[in-house]
Symmetry: C2
Subunit: 281 residues, 2 copies
């Protein structure tokens, strides 16, 4: 199976429409139809059910969509990482990705400690939005990531645990609950007039609900300050809170584990060193 065929199939499977898929791929519709037919013939499997009015995935097609995406990511990663390894200054630079707005203190310590190592290479730190890190690691835009379980998913990566911490509720100063010394999750989520914030989904849309839409942490803190919402977050963010905000430990919230994650087949010397430094912190 060639990657071109996979790309074509994934496009059609996502659009469920040959015309739009062809447009997205920058080719005409007939070659696309033929390519899919050939693919089906070669695999001996019906991938799409064409109903002369609508296109839908068969069970086999759903499998190929999931597996094909993963395979395309792997191919893309191979290209990107090779390019980076070759065009670099000789010693390949590493790309580390972490969530924008996450506690920078751990990252700063890691970068400092690594830079002090002999033979340290340049590390390119990329900040990205919620849930993007896994994709970047998978398709080669990044080599290593700091992930926060259980918010992020580290499935398919090798990981080392760096830190585990509790969570705090962030409340506007003066709120009745801000006088408590500890809270439970249910105390915070069910507050009348303080609905939980709504984070964007991967496709940029927001779930329905009464809470305010937020895109990042500063926005969120601002909204809490204004008394419009409240939130539960890792306790290492406590020192990023301003004057008007109060943090109260939430005893039954799940622990947040910070891990350093990398693709399992990585064999880079620099990466191994970075991970080693991280675990020694």
């Amino acid at each position: 199976m060639e990657t071109r065929e996979l790309r074509y199939f994934v496009a059609v499977a996502e659009e469920l429409h040959f015309g739009r898929a062809a447009e997205r791929l920058g080719i005409a519709q007939p070659p696309l139809s033929r390519a899919i037919q050939r693919l089906e013939r070669r695999l001996g499997v019906e991938l799409l059910h064409r109903d002369n009015r609508s296109v839908e995935l068969t069970a086999a097609g759903a499998v190929l969509l999931a597996e094909g995406r993963a395979a395309l990511d792997a191919v893309e990663a191979a290209g990107r990482r090779t390019r980076r390894a070759g065009t670099g200054t000789g010693s390949a630079a590493l790309v580390l990705v972490t969530k924008a707005g996450a506690s920078g203190e751990l990252l700063a310590k890691l970068l400092d400690a690594y830079a002090a190592e002999p033979g340290a290479v340049e590390i390119d730190v990329q900040l990205c939005g919620i849930g993007e890190q896994e994709g970047m690691l998978r398709d080669g835009r990044a080599d290593v990531a700091l992930l926060y379980l259980p918010f992020d998913s580290a499935t398919g990566f090798d990981t080392e645990v760096l830190r585990s911490e509790g969570q705090i509720a962030v409340l506007p100063a003066g709120h009745p609950l801000s006088l408590e010394t500890s809270l439970r999750t249910s105390d915070v989520t069910g507050l009348p007039g303080l609905p939980p914030p709504r984070w964007p989904r991967r496709d940029g849309t927001y779930p329905d609900g009464p809470g305010p839409k937020v895109r990042d942490h500063t926005q969120l803190l601002q909204l809490i300050m204004l008394g419009r919402t409240t939130a539960i977050m890792p306790e290492s963010l406590r020192n990023q809170l301003g004057e008007k905000l109060v943090a109260v430990p939430v005893v039954d919230a799940p622990k947040v584990t910070t891990v350093i994650a990398w693709p399992p087949h990585s064999r880079s010397r620099a990466l191994a060193r970075l991970v080693e430094v991280a675990t020694r912190l």
Copy 2:
């Protein structure tokens, strides 16, 4: 990057010889040379250093070799799993792979429990040699595996722990140590006249050393019975020992953990059910 180019590059990188690589690929040498040149030009990176007498990998080439193998496995997996999903009886059969000679008792319980579930699909059990399981899971020949840590590596897979057990030393009956109630690793490995067995490597060759070559567990037990070697193995294999063999716990040997492992992007209903049943055992 097309998979054909990746296959070509991996062949050359493994052979470090264009002629042999071309032969292995079933094409002539000139097209192979051109394909590699084009790949290098497109990536803008030198992958191989041709010295008019020898071919060697550059740093970027080494990266592409590792990443390319992974990508090719992913593409192959996509094809195989799709084929299986389509040509099956409708409800896709799962392929479970485990080491030949491993304790079958846990597997039997798992298969029985799963078969009793409503909507259970047929499970094809494949036995394979040492260290082959990861490859089979990676390239789609299998969907799920029973792995034994720390012997096998589960990096890159999702896993659930099924069991953890100690290890025993297996000695010929009558051996002085067989009267002990517990041993340490160093008691067993340093025995004069009882060198540890040699297992084949992935390429079929054996490491050097005095011990006898073994291919599987029955062979190994036979050799222990003959007083030619001795071995340390998980205690669940105790009930496979015959008359002439004695098992003694090895207190400082690492615990052996049996896990069920599957590729992280699997979304199959049947697989999820199987894993759920396994964790309930």
